[in-house]
């Protein structure tokens, strides 16, 4: 008996005459399941949640012809109303802070709160990118210190820090490759991308002006080296390989691939989205690659924020370093640090392919990632990779008797376990398992990706999950597989317990409603 309730009194529930609770309420809310209108339905014109002094004087006379006819038609909320609006909305989101979020390839690991605290130090959060360099030595110091870690951890020569996300990093790497090839007067037109690649790879290659050709996978889920070698030639600029790949497997023959590509005059881009599986255990530089982006929001725990911001620094080989974008962070021999910008580039970084974005990159992500790296140290980062791989293999071996694991028979996986819909009975799909997981209180795994596996389910637990947490997840997955085997019709219409049931995506795409037009238009 609890010390807080020594009498043992309990409220009576379900006694004689008790009326079943209403499923519909007058408010539309149900206990802690709260509905929330749009700000355009809540707000009133003229309401303002910020106290702003009324400015003295009229606008400059010359401005008169440019003045807007009326204020923007945006309703305002006072602070208490705004705090409630966003807090109520937040409760309709699943998040890592609530439980496992095993989205394969997305690496949803815990976001340490120390990272947040450090990023908010005024010396980082409240400095302008164009302040004189003498007033931002510490900020530049963060960039250089992080850069040194990334170079050392990957065994590469240098790093371009400015790309703003993984796909932007891919672009950076390909532009370096293109600039390097052009510099040697070698115009090549084709980029080879394996079938299992992230969609960003072919999109990036096309964006950089290349023709994309696909390379098949072998039955064991890896790049078909024979097909790759057969396609290499004087028109192939680069090969983009994800390693570990999107099937959760290490490309064993990466060095052979690199050597073959180099022998044919091409360059090797490695998609480093899955670097978290090997950090501290493998240096990609030892595998002969020329460029690799690192998603700081994956391997180094900066928050995903419901879709960004990310950060995608690109480590480079010596051959590609001269072409890195501006600004380029450099530590000099006497220990001082500086950013090479347009002013000094002609003398000090003359072959740079140019600028990819305004300013210096995602500083707010750099402070978080550096904080994470310093917290773990070289030993902790190696342990991160080991625990991530251990957790994924534990999931793989705990589920491969009830779900088909197409590449699980031949050996271990890396940081993510891949299943197919092969063992699901007729009428049940990967989507049903995913939606069933929502009712079980988990975020679904990545589904229908990679494309090389039918009905793919890609589970990435990350090092964040405890064994007890994994056991709960495994129990739910086994239960869902059993419900599918038993043809449980309620699984077909899951989720039943989320803030919304399945949403009509066809309607959304057929008649797009992208902004609010008032309820009359509904």
């Amino acid at each position: 008996m609890s010390a807080l309730n020594q009498s043992g009194w309990r409220p009576e529930i379900g006694g004689a005459g008790e009326v079943a609770p209403a499923t519909q309420t007058a408010s539309g809310d149900r206990g802690l399941m709260l509905e929330e209108p749009l700000i355009f339905e809540l707000g009133r014109p003229g309401t303002c949640g910020v106290d702003i002094e009324e400015p003295a004087g009229d606008p400059l006379p010359a401005l008169a012809r440019f003045l807007r006819a009326e204020p923007p038609a945006l309703p305002g909320l006072t602070e208490p109303e705004a705090v409630r609006h966003y807090t109520r909305l937040s409760r309709q989101n699943y998040a890592i802070d609530l439980g496992p979020f095993p989205l394969g390839s997305c690496t949803m690991k815990h976001n340490p709160r120390l990272n947040e605290k450090m990023a908010r130090l005024p010396g980082f959060a409240d400095v302008h990118p164009l302040q004189p360099q003498q007033t931002v030595r510490g900020a530049i110091g963060v960039i250089v210190e992080l850069a040194q870690w990334l170079v050392t951890l990957t065994g590469m020569h240098s790093v371009a820090m400015t790309p703003k996300a993984g796909a932007h990093g891919e672009l950076c790497g390909l532009l370096c490759i293109r600039a390097a090839l052009e510099a040697r007067g070698d115009a090549r037109e084709v980029v080879l991308v394996p079938e299992s690649a992230h969609g960003t790879n072919p999109a990036t290659a096309a964006f950089a002006g290349y023709r994309v050709e696909s390379i098949p996978a072998t039955v064991d889920g890896r790049v078909d080296i024979a097909a790759l070698k057969a396609r290499l030639g004087p028109d192939v600029a680069a090969v983009m390989i994800t390693n570990p790949n999107t099937c959760g497997l290490f490309e064993r023959d990466m060095k052979t691939i690199s050597d073959a590509v180099h022998a044919a005059g091409g360059l090797v881009y490695c998609d480093g989205a899955n670097f978290n599986a090997i950090v501290g255990r493998v240096r990609p530089g030892d595998l002969g690659i020329d460029a690799m982006h690192i998603n700081l929001h994956k391997t180094f725990s900066t928050p995903h924020g419901g879709g960004g911001p990310g950060s995608g620094p690109v480590v480079l080989s010596e051959a590609l370093t001269p072409f890195a974008p501006l600004p380029f962070a450099q530590a000099t021999a006497d220990g001082t640090v500086r950013l090479i910008e347009e002013e000094d580039a002609p003398a000090e970084h003359p072959r740079s392919f140019g600028r990819m974005a305004a300013f210096h990159g995602q500083m707010g992500m750099f402070t978080r990632a550096l904080t994470y790296i310093l917290s773990h140290g070289a030993d902790g980062l190696r342990q991160v990779a080991e625990d991530a791989v251990l957790n994924a293999n534990y999931v793989l071996r705990s589920l491969d008797d009830v779900l088909d694991a197409p590449f699980g028979k031949t050996g271990p996986c890396m940081h993510e376990a891949l299943f197919s819909d092969e063992s699901l009975p007729e009428g049940f799909t990967t989507l049903d398992i995913a939606k069933g997981l929502i009712d079980e209180g988990f975020h679904p795994m990545t589904v229908y990706f990679p494309l090389v596996v039918h009905g793919a389910m890609l589970v990435e637990p990350t090092e964040t999950e405890s064994k007890a947490g994994l056991d709960r997840f495994i129990a739910s997955m086994r239960s869902l597989a059993a419900r599918a085997r038993n043809a449980d019709p309620s699984l077909k219409s899951a989720p039943h317990l989320a803030p919304r049931r399945r949403l009509d995506e066809t309607l959304a795409a057929r008649r797009p409603v992208l902004t609010w037009h008032g309820n009359a238009a509904d």
């Binding site: 003229g46 949640g49 910020v50 702003i52 009324e54 003295a56 401005l63 440019f66 807007r68 204020p71 923007p72 945006l74 705090v83 807090t87 909305l89 409760r91 699943y94 890592i96 802070d97 989205l103 450090m118 130090l121 980082f124 959060a125 400095v127 030595r137 510490g138 963060v142 932007h168 532009l175 969609g199 960003t200 493998v282 924020g305 419901g306 879709g307 960004g308 911001p309 501006l326 002013e343 600028r355 300013f359 707010g364 904080t371 917290s375 773990h376 070289a378 030993d379 902790g380 980062l381 625990d387 791989v389 271990p412 219409s493 919304r500 049931r501 949403l503 959304a508 795409a509 902004t515």
Partner: protein
Amino acid sequence: MRYLPLTPAERADMLRTIGAASIDELFVDVPPEARLDGPIAGLPGHASEMAVERHMARLAADNLSAGSAPFFLGAGAYRHHIPASVDHLIQRGEFLTAYTPYQPEIAQGTLQVLFEFQTQVARLFGTDIANASMYDGSTACWEAVAMAGRITRRKKAILSGGLHPHYVSTATTMARFTGDALDTRLPELSAEPDDAALIAAIDGETSCVVVQYPDVLGRIPDLAAIAAAAQAQGALLVAVVTEPVALGLIEAPGKLGADIVVGEGQSLGVGLQFGGPYLGLFGCREKFVRQMPGRLAGQTVDADGKRGFVLTLSTREQHIRREKATSNICTNSGLCALDFSIHMTLLGGEGLARLARLNHARARATAEALTRVPGVELLSMCFVNELTLLLPRDAREVVRELAEYGVLGGVSLGRLYPQADGLHHALLVTATETTTDDDIHALATILEAILVDTHEGAPT
């Protein structure tokens, strides 16, 4: 290690379940020559919160933060007061630690925020629609140029001299690889932007004209005239807004005929952060929706008929279309969009208008004080909160000397255009609601002292 829940006993237990003798067996696919036997030499080991905090705080202290000095920088990044509730709300774990909303049943919070954000941006810009964000203003600007090329099937874009030089550089980098032709020019130090020259450059090959509003020197181009001229040739007007607060005072670009409006949303809610992460804003006419880059949240209903939101029209995007996608963008700037949206919600349209008038009043006060400094001239009498001063010498040196006195006095055009000697005596000065009379006094006094030294030929 405080972030790793597995115990050594659990690790051993799990290895037994897997059927592996050691963790090394799980890395068996790594070729022996690439395996590292232990932690990489020369790197420090793990550290406590306290130790890390001490290290980071030392680095942070080696910066002069904007809030601790008279501060007048702008040029694409602006310091505004951010209400306390904004940063509190974005740190709700349900927003901070969620992913892109691929599972809409459990991501309605993020999706509704994005739908509200899109509506706010569209109304602010005067466009039909807006997307769920891009990386930043400079990349959004290039994406607009690329989109105009897809719509018009033309390859030549004209970039105004008033477009932020980093935006021009970003587009130039991309165009070199995509084969687009960019017609670029430097800004002229004149009281009004040379709209006539821009209009004269438009021809039947032009895909779009890209015009910053207000421009990088703080002047205001005549968007309506440029839009009419562009559209008469079958070209599009892309308007670029780097300071959205200005739109509380001056007319929305979409209302003036801009076909695509992009911008940098950092001013509202995001903060300076030494340049990133920032927030790309992207609005356009509804008829162009299928050529738009980036994510879109759209309204729909669920199986019970309840209103809900999903990511939609994703057949434009890389994860479906691969090499045929409208852009390679995947992760965007979701959390910064939330910052922006909360700040905008707190302001409301009338609050934004008042904030813009206050910014303008502070800039007028700054201009009045600085033009009393001997040797200083004001370029234009038509500005919102950012203005260009002409100094008697290279503004880069002046900025560095001001910093020696603890004053962050502005952005020199030499920093932005190092290769254009004719611009080096110009200084961009921005005032916002955070600018106090004391700040203005400090800048005016020290600027005068520095320039007097110049007149007297004193060495610096």
